[in-house]
């Protein structure tokens, strides 16, 4: 600009811009601000050269350092695996009971088991492993197929009524009503008797009538006192825990046409260390035998 205009009052040069007679003073930016600004410009230039920065059509510039966030994650995962390798080897060679007895392995197995549980098991058993009708609560001390470490391990490996595994735990309760093995009145009486076994409110007369039918049809698996048999996956009928509900109607329904839960076997999907960790985790939930 050839002729600089100076504001008379403040003695400061103006920018020459005018709005309704008001002119803007040309005060310089603070120097520290300018230097910071220049420094960030230089930094940005270096950054663009060193790191991935400019998007191209199907990819982006890679930067001379060759950094990639994906590679960094992969590195971290590899490092985590390496860090776990020692413990995993110990878990692999130790028996389930040894894992449970060793505080260090127990802690590793329980936290690892919990992670595996949250990925694979919560869909049916719930995040707190408390289950829901038809899906057993894993916190309690009642086990359909046994609550010892070895029992839980086998259940986890091969599943229950899992058609793609020949070693799966399998048992079927006959549909006493639907297949016309028993009369409706007999089913009613057995249901009353089962409630009597469990110490629940019941019709005494009907229960007495049901004894004979129970012994004949049910005791083979559920035992005469109703204690059940984990070997056959026959639930305990006299305790306070009910897989499909304890009302007379729910019991009668189960006798008439039983529902049978299915659990997949995990032996082909999870490695053995993970299965062991899951076993110890489930066992540690409070009901393990």
């Amino acid at each position: 600009m050839a002729n600089k205009e100076v504001d008379k009052l403040s003695g400061i040069e103006t920018t020459g811009h005018e709005w309704d007679g008001i002119k803007e003073l040309n005060n310089p930016l603070p120097r520290w601000w300018l230097w910071t600004f220049y420094a960030t410009c230089i930094w940005a230039l270096g950054y663009v050269i060193a790191y991935p920065a400019i998007p191209l059509i199907s990819s982006a510039t890679t930067g001379v350092l060759g950094y990639s966030s994906r590679a960094e994650v992969a590195d971290e995962l590899t490092n985590a695996k390496i860090a776990q390798a020692d413990m995993l080897a110990k878990i692999q060679s130790a028996s389930l009971e040894e894992i449970r007895k060793d505080p260090e392995m127990l802690q590793f197995a329980v936290s690892g088991g919990r992670s595996a549980f949250l990925v694979n098991c919560v869909q049916c058993h719930g995040s707190g492993a408390a289950g829901s009708p038809g899906y057993p609560n894993l916190n309690d001390d009642d086990w359909i197929w046994g609550g010892k470490l070895e029992d839980i391990y086998v259940t986890l490996k091969h599943g229950i009524r899992f058609q793609w595994d020949d070693d799966t735990r399998d048992s079927l309760m006959p549909a006493f009503g639907a297949d016309e093995i028993l009369e409706r009145t007999q089913i009613n009486d057995i249901a009353e008797y089962v409630r009597q076994l469990a110490g629940l409110e019941h019709d005494g007369e009907a229960a007495t009538r049901g004894v004979a039918a129970y012994v004949e049809n049910c005791a083979a698996c559920h035992k005469e006192d109703g204690a059940g048999d984990p070997e056959q996956g026959a639930p305990n009928l006299k305790d306070a825990i009910w897989h499909y509900g304890s009302s007379k109607q729910e019991i009668a329904q189960q006798i008439y046409k039983p529902r049978h839960g299915v659990m997949p076997g995990w032996v082909n999907r999870l490695d053995d260390e993970t299965l062991k960790k899951l076993t110890v985790y489930v066992h540690s939930l409070g009901g393990g035998e």
């Binding site: 005060n27 603070p30 707190g128 916190n139 409070g286």
Partner: protein
Amino acid sequence: MVTVYNSVERIDAEAVNSKEKRSSYAARVKIFPKRVAGTFRQLKWWIMLVTLGIYYVTPWLRWDRGQHAPDQAVLVDLANGRFYFFFIEIWPQELFYIAGLLIMAGVGLFLITSTVGRAWCGYTCPQTVWVDLFLVVERWMEGDRNARIKLDKGPWTFDKWRKRLIKHAIWIVIAVATGGAWIFYFADAPTLLKNFLTFQAPFVAYSTVAILTATTYVFAGFMREQVCTYMCPWPRIQGAMLDEDSLVVTYNGWRGETRGGQKLRRTQGEENFGDCIDCNLCVAVCPQGIDIRDGQQLECITCALCIDACDGVMEKTGKPKGLISYATLRNYNSNVAGVESPTTWRSFVRPRTYIYAGVWSLIGLIMLGFLLTRDRLDINVLHDRNPVYVRLSDGGIRNGYTIKVLNMRAEPRTVTLSLAGIEGATMTRTGSDAAPSNSIDVDLKPDKLVSMKVYVSAAKASLTGEVSDITFTVTNTVDEESASYTAKFNGPAER
């Protein structure tokens, strides 16, 4: 009266913030503080010696705490979450002691400011102490004010290069030592020093030293008074803290004016002038580069060096000392009004200082009370949220808890964990095959926290409702110290 003024030469010094030239966009004017001797300068040397001594020596003091705790007297152990101060050990949940100390420091600062003004700024603030230290180096290398101004304006001769390089080298050594001393508060000092010198210390040690070196070098070497004037909030806050009874460095204009130098006095007559001979020495010695005769201003850190300078001049001119002195505004005003009113310690005696001192002591006493009666055994209980309760096969109800027992003594202890509040309730600890019982023994490691999972079972009939209270108590079998925690025990809604 005939006075010889020739002994005091007028110095060509101007305040950096002189009213006539004040502007929002002024570039920094370099300040070359002149050396001065006197009472306050002497005091400041001693305070510098003591504060720097405390800073550098403290991490090297040892304090025996037995084999289970570090033997460094003052240690902030961030990795393990412990703070050690001689006989006191603080866990993270006891950080309120630190908060209390900070409140005390704040109230203490109010108390100091309301009585003796900005004594913190002038004598003990690290910025002031380190700038003073850097100025010692600068004076030693480049000489006093005039020599430094000359050197600064002069061409870059070999001699200038030499002086400047040595000065900056010494500054950097001091800066490294400053940053270096800081890290020893956070780890065992002898070990860290060895590791630091052999390049085996953690990266954060080197980066901390680097950052503190940079800030020390830049703040004390280059930014100096700008830190006080532009960066520090305290000069702004002091406006609310000072009152007419606070001591501030004051130019006693009532006896100083009309100021006049020797020439004027000779031509116009001594009787027309006050005591100020306008020698500008007070401006030349000021590390903030201001003129105290312009009145109290936010740039002034009350370092009192102008008092020393002026007292020296008054001595030479045969006038009473104290033309520039610590004075309260009240005394100043009555002096202006013609009532002689010297400033004494009586200005400290007033409700405001009573209140500050009272609050300060109260917080101190409360903290001391807490400290002397605090527990060294503690228990925290976290109730399982998912599931909140589990129904057992015998109809009983089970709740899970994560129990943390804190042994805050540096010795191993065995405690008994027991239950109360629910009739017949029993517990088991995961990983243990012991039969369910009402109490279990727990081994505690020295100065450590033990976390354990405990399952508590109770008959449904013994519960008082959907939610019952249950109390966990840990008792040390030896010294009977105990701690309790009352948690909730959940059950089904129907009885």
